[in-house]
């Protein structure tokens, strides 16, 4: 069943009225094409009004929409062939991070992504897209494999955060994420990062360091989720909308802040309204941006990446007075 978000209700109501009008016209045989086209025009306007003026919190809701395409949907849609690989060669195989080898046009790449589930069972199986250290270490193993085989890395970010569990702490969640940041900074092959849903804090960044960072239009990327931020700073989850605003977590905000490189537009109403169009766009982006990156020698690519991250952040630099 299609999930309706609260702010989408006026659209659904109007769609209902249009359907009802059509049904009546069929039953009575009356010509209502004028009033119908007026209603349809109104619907288009309403959709634009609503979807093009989304508040930060509404974007968060869209980023979490249960019908949104997930990492494996992207991977299977954009690759002509894909073989999933498992395990960190150490402790296990985290189901919240998937990865493998895929072919996209003339390119073979290592693809890695955080994976959410669609029903109760698969959501639990995927741990709601919240990785454990095994997931980050599997991702790192695959990235090192990519480096050895001289293949680019493409990652898909969609996580509410690294899992805050006892096992995760025992197995070094912090170390696993830190190690990935360290290794990704030096990886001698291009890395493309697509934020396709939720980009929550260190859990997202753990597979999110790259040469090009893209954010889909209705996704969020920040240091903390709006709910957690609200519960800390406002002492209540009730203030999540305020926190979402304060955090500047939208794609437009992140582009302005210089933490991402590009925004990829979504169909009106979100990626799930027309997944095929979104897959096509992501694939085109990969095919367009990989060749120039692949032509850069590793000896130059790594310093460029370091320079990219060195610039990130905002501060004031007091010049010494004369």
């Amino acid at each position: 069943m299609e999930v309706i978000l609260d702010f989408e209700r006026p659209i659904v109501e109007l769609e209902g009225r249009i359907a009802e009008t059509k049904r009546l016209a069929e039953q009575t045989g009356l010509d209502i094409s004028d009033s119908l086209s007026a209603l349809e025009e109104r619907l288009e306007r309403l959709k634009h009004d609503i979807y093009q003026n989304l508040s930060p919190w509404q974007r968060v809701q869209l980023a979490r929409h249960p019908s949104r395409p997930y990492s494996l949907d992207y991977i299977h849609a954009i690759c002509e062939d894909f073989i999933e690989l498992h395990g960190d060669r150490c402790a296990g195989d985290d189901k919240a991070i998937v990865g493998g080898i895929g072919r996209i046009g003339v390119h073979t790449a290592i693809l890695i992504g955080q994976q959410k589930g669609r029903d109760t069972k698969s959501r639990q199986y995927r741990n709601f897209g919240m990785p454990n250290p095994e997931g980050y270490r599997k991702a790192l193993r695959l990235m090192k494999l990519a480096e050895r085989l001289r293949k680019p890395v493409i990652t898909f970010i969609d996580t509410p955060g690294a899992y805050p569990g006892t096992h995760a702490e025992e197995f070094g969640q912090a170390e696993a994420i830190a190690r990935n940041l360290y290794e990704m900074a030096q990886l001698r092959v291009p890395i493309l990062v697509f934020i396709i849903g939720e980009g929550a804090s260190g859990g997202a960044l753990g597979i999110g360091v790259g040469d090009k960072i893209y954010m889909l239009e209705n996704t969020w990327y920040s240091v903390i989720s709006p709910e957690s931020c609200a519960s800390i700073l406002w002492r209540s989850w009730e203030y999540k909308e305020k926190a979402a605003e304060a955090l500047h977590l939208s794609a437009t905000d992140n582009l302005k802040l210089g933490t991402i490189d590009e925004i990829l537009p979504e169909p009106l109403g979100g990626a799930h309204k027309n997944p095929t169009a979104v897959f096509r766009l992501v694939r085109e982006k990969i095919l367009q941006d990989l060749p120039p990156l692949l032509s850069i020698a590793p000896e130059e690519l790594v310093p460029l990446r370091l320079e990219k991250y060195s610039k990130m952040g905002r501060w004031r630099e007091k010049t010494a007075s004369p």
């Binding site: 569990g165 702490e169 025992e170 994420i177 830190a178 926190a243 802040l257 952040g313 630099e317």
Partner: protein, 282 residues
Amino acid sequence: MTWYLRKEEGIRTSPTEKIGAPDGLWVKCPSCSKPLHIKELMQSQYVCPHCSYHFPIGSKEYFRFLFENGEHTVLFEEIEPIDALGFVDSKPYPQRLAEAQKKTGLSEAVRCAVGPIGSHTVAVAVMDFGFIGGSMGSVVGERIARTIRYAAEHTLPLLIISRSGGARMMEGSLSLVQMAKTAAWLAQYAKTGLPYISVLTDPTMGGVTASFAMLGDINIAEPKALIGFAGPRVIREATGKDLPPGFQEAEFQLDHGFVDLIVDRRELKNTLLRLWDMLCSR
């Protein structure tokens, strides 16, 4: 991410300020309740001589007992915080920064310096928990990145002493990417062949643990320091279980393989010197 957590646990006091209070020549050890004279405490690197409780301290105190005669040159103080997001919660971020600066006398949550420790010249960064929970925003990330770079360019051993609740919320994703920036510079520093020693003190959490603090060539923890990614409260909420005693403490991290050594602060300088003597001899 979680800089507030220890405050909520009700464990943390701000003893440096208490210690520094003009009328407070005597302090009570929060662990064994014995009265301690401030001079005695300073001579024991702020460790209780009776029960070995490690008073939480900041950059001033570490600089004083690590550098020879306290002699050092402070680096990168010219990098100052700004309110890039226009962040307002219970108070505007600029006000929060100004209050933290006034309260601590510091410009940000990390101080960086270069100076002599034993026969070595060392680049050092020490975090100050008193400044917005030692949280890492753009300035902490940038100062640490530049200290790493400075150490690499001057071929100096690198020491970072962490004490932080994690990344700073008031700078949103700008704080988050500091994790990547500092880790990237450490990866660059590794090429110098010099050691980076990370000292994790109580508490070191969130995005700080998950970046430079866990990436030491040698990770040293102070006894009983809380070290982890997620805070205890968050873990309890996620799992619905109480945490066993000692969970995420230094000894737990040693047993699970994430720190090399637990070193009493009174032995810290000596341990660092032994390591540098072996690793940095020409």
